[in-house]
């Protein structure tokens, strides 16, 4: 690990001030440190090389660490830990997709450490990104190429990829947030702003090194999810090589408001493990809207969701697996007992 200076702050304002006053140079030379489950790992691997680390863990004792639920919806502080939110009784009952997306991620120790804000910003598990002995990685070294395109790309994305990068977005919780139209709350040097969660992550395009819409020094303060009739009939289905403690090969986040005779009033669908960013499958939602939900319509919706898939040598199976995952998740959601 490369040397760095360490600062500890006790408020978001102090964090932003510390970031602004940090060493001269690129913003990537300064990093906020929360749970550290991504940052410390990638610093040990020499993938991330901050010169200044600003420890924001004490912010979990402020409003940023709080979870608030009421009739209007849910507000999750960005410094709340994954485990607290996954175990929250109201979230388990009323927002099962959110609780499941967190509970099925990582290990209990990592969920105790990792914060929600850090979780949505976790970096890809692409082995060529994580291993600096590969010279080609457009995320690490812009313009250097992509070793995954003709490398071993079994774990890579089939949706939202580009000729510059096929890395998979590794998270689970992000699929729940994009499915539920969450808003992400930000604080920076120019004050507070809100973004739809779907606008936080940027598909790789020609600049895979730019992963989010965050401005330098901007900090995620929380997430807001509005109450909605489809939240209780919601779930997160995750398919992986091992039954536990593994990243998704394919996953589906489903929220469903179903009327009489299995007619879909509203459905929200997001896909994980198959895309470069948290992935909302709007075409599949439209395919189901107002129709009876059964295996046939679910399959048709899944075909729509993967119509633009762009697989490579080793990840063609993800197109079929992703579709089957979506079909199973839809049918499971339809049969949930409320």
């Amino acid at each position: 690990m490369r040397p760095f200076t360490y600062e500890r702050v006790d408020s978001a304002t102090a964090a932003i001030a510390a970031f602004g006053a940090g060493a001269v140079g690129a913003a990537s030379e300064r990093q906020y440190l929360a749970g550290g489950t991504t940052l410390i790992d990638l610093m040990k691997l020499d993938v991330m090389r901050p010169q200044t680390v600003i420890d924001i863990n004490a912010l979990d004792r402020t409003a940023l660490g709080r979870v608030e639920t009421n009739d209007q919806g849910l507000r999750l502080g960005a410094l709340a830990h994954m485990s607290e939110v996954a175990d929250h009784p109201v979230i388990k009952r009323d927002y099962p997709m959110i609780a499941q997306s967190l509970e099925l991620a990582a290990s209990p120790q990592i969920r105790n450490m990792a914060t929600l804000g850090g979780n949505v910003l976790q970096r890809t598990r692409c082995p060529y990104f994580r291993d600096v002995s590969y010279a080609e990685c457009n995320k690490r070294i812009p313009g250097s190429g992509c070793a995954a395109l003709d490398g071993f790309n079994r774990s890579h994305a089939v949706l939202g990829v580009s000729d510059a990068c096929i890395a998979t977005y590794p998270g689970d919780f992000g699929q729940a947030l994009i499915a539920l139209d969450a808003m992400v709350e930000l604080r920076g040097r120019n004050g507070d702003r809100k973004l739809p969660f779907g606008a936080l992550h940027r598909p790789p395009g020609g600049n895979p090194e730019i992963e989010t819409a965050l401005l330098p020094g901007e900090i995620i303060t929380g997430f807001a999810i509005a109450a909605a009739p489809w939240l209780r009939r919601s779930l997160y289905l995750k398919i992986r090589d091992r039954q536990s403690y593994e990243f998704a090969l394919a996953s589906a986040a489903i929220a469903l408001d179903m009327g009489k005779n299995q007619i879909v009033q509203e459905v929200r669908i997001a896909l994980g493990g198959v895309a470069s960013v948290p992935w909302r499958a709007r075409s599949a939602e439209r395919a189901l809207q107002g129709r009876r939900l059964n295996e046939q319509t679910a399959r048709a919706a899944a075909d729509t969701a993967f119509a633009d898939a762009n697989p490579h040598e080793h990840n063609l199976f993800k197109v079929g697996l992703g579709k089957r995952t979506l079909v199973r998740a839809l049918l499971q959601a339809a049969t949930m007992e409320l």
Partner: protein, 212 residues
């Protein structure tokens, strides 16, 4: 987390082992050596943090109820501070990347990975290692006893992490049945594959821990 179940090794006079003696020696020697080499004038007076990464950072770590003053390179993980500076070698370095769970310790009663935690981040929080789990008179924590009773290890390398994780698994209320125990112990790998025995140890302990 009932802190009463955890006791500092340092407060235990009876039953000192060779390892405990070495631990105490290493601890008392390390601080003055490093204090002499630090350039105090380079420290930020408000935070006592080094502004030059070459200067060690001063911090106080509370481990198993005992406070330790240390001067460390900011890069030092909690795992390395425990093992190399405090002589508490119970927490093990397996993968050093947060994948195996051998380094599991408790911070403020919650299980975490000490290999992905900077020592500086643990300042001001209560760290519990396997050395702090038994009572001062040497009586084992029920989970430690259950691991012996159920033969829940072979080589023993992952065992300190398994036991601390198992204690948390029960404290968190995630030990209702075999499937739940397996899911909530999945962050601790055992290459000897003692998993069925570890599940048995947790089942043996969950009632006595709740009564205690």
């Amino acid at each position: 987390m009932p802190n009463a179940t955890f006791h500092s090794v340092a407060t235990s006079v009876a039953g000192w082992s060779r390892r405990m003696f070495l631990t105490a020696s290493a601890t008392s020697l390390a601080v003055p050596l490093f204090a002499r080499t630090s350039r105090a004038e380079a420290m930020d007076p408000q935070t006592a943090r080094a502004k030059d990464p070459r200067d060690p950072a001063n911090l106080a770590l509370t481990v198993n109820g005992r406070k330790h003053q240390l001067a460390l390179d900011a890069r030092t993980t909690l795992l390395d501070a425990l093992r190399e500076r405090l002589g508490l070698t119970g927490a093990k370095k397996g993968c050093d990347h947060g994948q195996c769970g051998a380094c599991t310790v408790l911070i403020d009663g919650r299980r975490v990975l000490s290999c992905l935690t900077l020592a500086l981040v643990a300042e001001g929080r209560a760290v519990t290692t396997i050395e702090g789990l038994a009572k001062p008179d040497g009586t084992l924590h029920p989970m430690q006893q259950a691991f012996i009773d159920q033969d829940a290890f072979q080589c023993g390398y992952c065992t300190p992490g398994q036991i601390l994780s198992a204690v948390s698994c029960v404290e968190e209320g995630h030990a209702a049945n075999d499937a739940e125990i397996r899911e909530y112990m999945s962050g601790n790998l055992c290459r000897c594959a003692a998993y069925p025995n570890i599940v048995a140890a947790i089942k043996q302990t969950k009632h006595s821990m709740r009564e205690g």
